[in-house]
């Protein structure tokens, strides 16, 4: 390149003109010119020995004399040359020194004849020479002659040829080839270069600087960084953009720059830069396309992966990383199989190895562990990409999460299996009735229910109706009409008669579905055998009827007995009434007559007689009292109970006031008000309390005034009425017998032994109780416990 640059700067030219470029050779003719012939003689030796080829031509261009150098150059001897003219050994078409040229030299039109030409050498080869011919002053000895100096310029010509070829190459090159000086001023830009950057011609190029070829953002790099490096290192290259001078478009070039030097000193820069814009664009397009592809890949729901031709995974899309939660690097190579479910891992590895080995496409389903540790079913698909030789260069693949699908499939499978199992196990037949066409689809289970051979399926509604027991047929037909007409659901129980004559009960339920027109379109339903249930129901109904009969019978029996019981009670009451009346009538009569006897016939009877009469009177009174007490007890037992709040204050004070035995000074009664309210029935309360009061006043030692204290306390939420006396008391061992009927514990006191039995009965009937505390010496305390008044 340096040579090329050097050649280019010299711009070598072959010129026949006088003002030709300087030649490197000395001009012997000018040395000889003007010398006398004798002087020529002195120079002959020089002539002969000169390393430069020297000849003397006659005016016709014939060889007069040649030195050895010429002979050496041309390969001819002197004799051979003397017989040949210049034209004889000149390359055809090249310049020949002949009479015309000689004439011009002679008349002075031409001072020196100069020509670069080719001689044909003796061996047939050509030799480039530079021929310079000058007129030598004619003299007697030599006559007119011309001195020619022949310089071998074959080397120069070779160089010139080479340079020309370079020049040609440079001009024809599609690369940008240019040179500039150290200041960045271009002095050469080839045609392609000019075209490339939109410069009109070299003159235009010479008006700009190197930096102007670049985009502003790159200029500082070029001037301040890149070119200094070229100077420093002699050469450098960079891929950079030129800017088109007209359109401003970027032109990517591989910018190769070398330093030009002259005599070892840098003089400028030269460049051959290839336009790589297309390649760049292709690269960009590729990159764009790759980017797009990557964007597409990474926006897919699939987990995309890629492997080298030998199956080494070296790309896993972000989706993969997101799904597995594992950095891609850990899954490179064969590491991804670690995320495969252990149960699926061996066959997955095997499948992948086989696919890689065979170069066949790869497809497998396995469970892949998600970031949360759960496994999802995936379909993995991979295809090999082959180069032009058919060798696999890459694998591309994608995983699809099919977990939902697998689950859904499993669910559907399970649920249909379950349904089938359930239908079969429960012997449920199913059907689908196309209401529009009346077609009926029905399964084998339904055949069995209808007593048909499986597969002999009824195909129309009519066939179905014919299988129904004729008594149930109108009802079933009506139900079908309701379904078809109004879209009602179907729910009927009906009988079918099997071929063997047996009758089965079936329960048939169907749901009507509507078409787009809103009209009933079809019905699906199920059917089961309910014969057993119907029989059971019948039995149940019978059992219920029997039970009802029993209940009715029982009820009437109860009524009967209640009536007879009521009758018995009435009779009992009648009996009591009779007792009170009829039984007492004779006693009273006896008593009354005895009294009359004592009053009217006392003196007649005498003392003993009176004593007997008095015994009759007392006996009859006791009998009367016993009868009355018994009646009272029976009355207490029969008395209707109607519980209501009753004031003890009023009741007790009235009882005390009405009883003469409780009045002062016969008795000392203290009531500690208030006694409060109790829940009770006044008559029963009266019966119980009055008897206690009478007893309290009665059982006192003779001559002692009874002191009675009455008060209430609440014991365990229940009111208690206490009646304390100063009487004879009741020994503890006798207290248990105290409330029995006819129990009389004390002699010497009037009593029937019924009073406390009445007390207990009366208080129990209103939900209360009676009790006593006594040491048997110092009086006793009776208490009555009542139900509290609930608010």
């Amino acid at each position: 390149l340096r040579e090329l640059g050097a050649l280019a700067t010299r711009q070598p030219k072959v010129s026949l003109k006088n003002a030709a470029a300087p030649t490197p050779l000395p001009d012997p003719l000018s040395v000889l010119s003007g010398f006398a012939m004798e002087e020529v003689g002195r120079y002959r030796a020089a002539f002969e020995r000169s390393a430069v080829g020297m000849t003397l031509f006659d005016r016709n261009g014939g060889w007069l004399r040649v030195n050895d150098a010429v002979c050496r150059m041309l390969g001819y001897s002197r004799e051979e040359l003397r017989t040949r003219t210049a034209a004889d050994i000149t390359f055809p078409g090249d310049a020949v020194f002949g009479p015309d040229e000689a004439a011009r030299l002679l008349d002075g039109r031409l001072s020196t004849y100069v020509a670069d030409k080719r001689y044909l050498r003796a061996d047939g080869s050509t030799l480039w020479v530079s021929l310079t011919i000058s007129l030598v002053q004619s003299g007697p000895e030599v006559g007119e002659c011309f001195l020619g100096v022949i310089a071998d310029i074959s080397q120069r010509k070779q160089a010139e040829r080479t340079a020309g070829r370079f020049q040609f190459a440079i001009e024809k090159s599609t690369d940008f080839i240019a040179m500039c000086d150290l200041h960045g001023r271009p002095f050469f830009v080839n045609a392609a270069g000019l075209r490339m950057v939109g410069l009109a011609d070299l003159a235009a190029a010479q008006t700009v600087r190197v930096a102007d070829f670049f985009f502003p953002e790159d200029q500082r790099f070029i001037v301040g960084d890149f070119l200094p490096r070229v100077l420093r290192e002699g050469a450098a290259s960079v891929e950079i953009r030129f800017r088109h001078f007209v359109t401003g478009e970027p032109i990517w070039v591989n910018y190769n720059v070398v330093t030009l030097s002259e005599h070892g000193t840098p003089s400028g820069f030269a460049t051959i830069s290839q336009n790589v814009t297309e390649r760049k664009r292709a690269e960009e397009r590729l990159r764009d396309s790759e980017d797009r592809m990557r964007t597409i890949l990474e926006s897919l729901p699939h987990l995309v992966w890629s492997c080298t031709g030998d199956g080494y995974c070296d790309y896993l899309s972000p989706q993969w990383q997101r799904f597995t939660g594992v950095p891609a690097e850990q899954h490179f190579g064969i590491g991804w199989t670690n995320a495969v479910h252990p149960d699926d891992r061996p066959r997955t590895r095997l499948a992948w190895e086989q696919a890689v080995a065979r170069g066949s496409s790869y497809r497998i389903e396995y469970r892949l562990r998600a970031a949360d540790g759960t496994y999802h079913w995936h379909t993995a698909t991979g295809i090999p990409v082959r180069n032009s030789h058919g060798a696999i260069t890459r694998w591309f693949g994608a995983n699809t999460d099919i977990d939902d699908r697998i689950r859904a499939e499993a669910l559907v499978r399970e649920s249909s299996e379950r349904l089938a199992a359930a239908l079969s196990a429960s012997r449920t037949g199913t059907f689908r009735w196309n209401i529009v066409t009346n077609e009926l689809e029905w399964d084998e289970e339904l055949d069995r229910l209808f007593g048909l051979e499986p597969g002999s399926t009824a195909r129309s509604l009519t066939q179905f109706i014919e299988l129904v027991h004729e008594d149930d047929r109108p009802r079933v037909i009506a139900a079908c009409r309701r379904c078809a007409g109004q879209g009602a659901d179907f729910h009927e129980e009906f009988r079918v008669v099997w071929r063997d004559g047996s009758v089965r009960w079936l329960e048939d339920k169907g749901r009507t579905f509507f078409g787009e027109s809103g009209k009933p379109a079809y019905m699906t339903g199920a059917c089961i055998d309910v014969t057993t249930r119907r029989l059971a129901e019948e039995e149940l109904r019978e059992a219920r009827n029997r039970l009802q009969e029993h209940a009715t019978a029982l009820e009437s029996k109860v009524e009967e007995r209640t009536a007879s019981l009521r009758k018995a009670v009435v009779q009992m009451e009648e009996f009591s009434y009779s007792v009170s009346h009829d039984l007492r009538a004779p006693i009273r009569a006896m008593n009354q007559y005895a009294k009359l006897l004592a009053a009217d016939f006392g003196p007649v009877l005498g003392e003993t007689g009176l004593h007997y009469v008095n015994r009759i009177i007392r006996g009859s009174e006791r009998m009367n009292q016993l009868t009355l007490d018994t009646l009272a007890l029976s009355r207490v037992t029969r008395e209707p109970v109607c519980l209501a709040p009753v004031s003890l204050d009023t009741l007790v004070s009235d009882l005390v006031a009405e009883n003469p035995a409780l009045q002062s000074p016969r008795a000392d009664v203290v009531i500690e008000y208030p006694l409060g309210l109790v829940h009770g029935t006044p008559s029963l309360l009266t019966q119980s309390i009055s008897n206690l009061l009478v007893n309290a006043a009665k059982f006192v030692p003779a001559g002692q005034v009874p002191r009675i204290r009455i008060w209430t306390e609440v014991v365990e939420n229940r009111p208690r009425l206490y009646v304390r006396d100063n009487g004879i008391g009741i020994p503890p061992e006798q207290q248990a017998r105290l409330f029995g009927i006819f129990e009389r514990l004390h002699d010497g006191y009037e009593g029937t032994g019924i009073g406390l039995a009445i007390v207990r009965k009366a208080v129990e009937r209103i939900g209360g109780a009676v009790g006593v505390t006594s040491d048997g010496k110092h009086g006793s305390t009776f208490w009555l416990e009542f139900q509290p008044v609930t608010t």
């Binding site: 009170s580 009569a589 009355r635």
Partner: protein
């Protein structure tokens, strides 16, 4: 003792009780005429003047009836119901004389228009009391 005269009808099936009533009246010095029938049906016949009772000279209409409750053929309550239904006996004084201390008999008797309810045997004291009130009734009526 009384300045006015009552005609007394005793309805009593028991002869002893008839005797005790007569004895008690005597002891109470009540001299008003006493008619006695043995049961309710006879009492009704007496009041309506049926049969032998048609002779009002012998069987004058009573102003006071002493009525036993428990009697054969027709009891005291039936008699009171019968009397109650007849306006002409509105002023007739009915005094129940019974051995029943039963509350229900007591209540029913008053409901049927009994003026008094006396437990057997009748005594001089009770009869004297009754006659005193009967006399007040007569005074009262005269003043009207």
């Amino acid at each position: 003792m009384s300045p006015h005269r009552e005609i007394i009808l005793l309805v009593e099936d028991d002869e002893d009780d008839q005797f005790f009533m007569r004895d008690a009246l005597k002891r109470a010095d009540i001299r008003d005429p006493l008619q006695v029938v043995n049961n309710g049906r006879d009492a009704v016949a007496y009041l309506t003047g049926d049969g032998r009772f048609a002779d009002r000279q012998a069987y004058p209409l009573p102003s006071v009836v002493f009525l036993d409750l428990k009697m054969p053929l027709m009891d005291g309550f039936a008699v009171m119901e019968w009397i109650r239904a007849r306006r002409e006996f509105a002023d007739l004084v009915i005094i129940v004389l019974t051995s029943s201390p039963e509350e229900r008999d007591h209540t029913r008797a008053y409901q049927l228009g009994a003026r008094s309810y006396l437990l057997k045997p009748p005594t001089r004291e009770t009869l004297t009391d009754v006659w005193r009130t009967l006399a007040l009734r007569v005074v009262h009526r005269r003043s009207e």
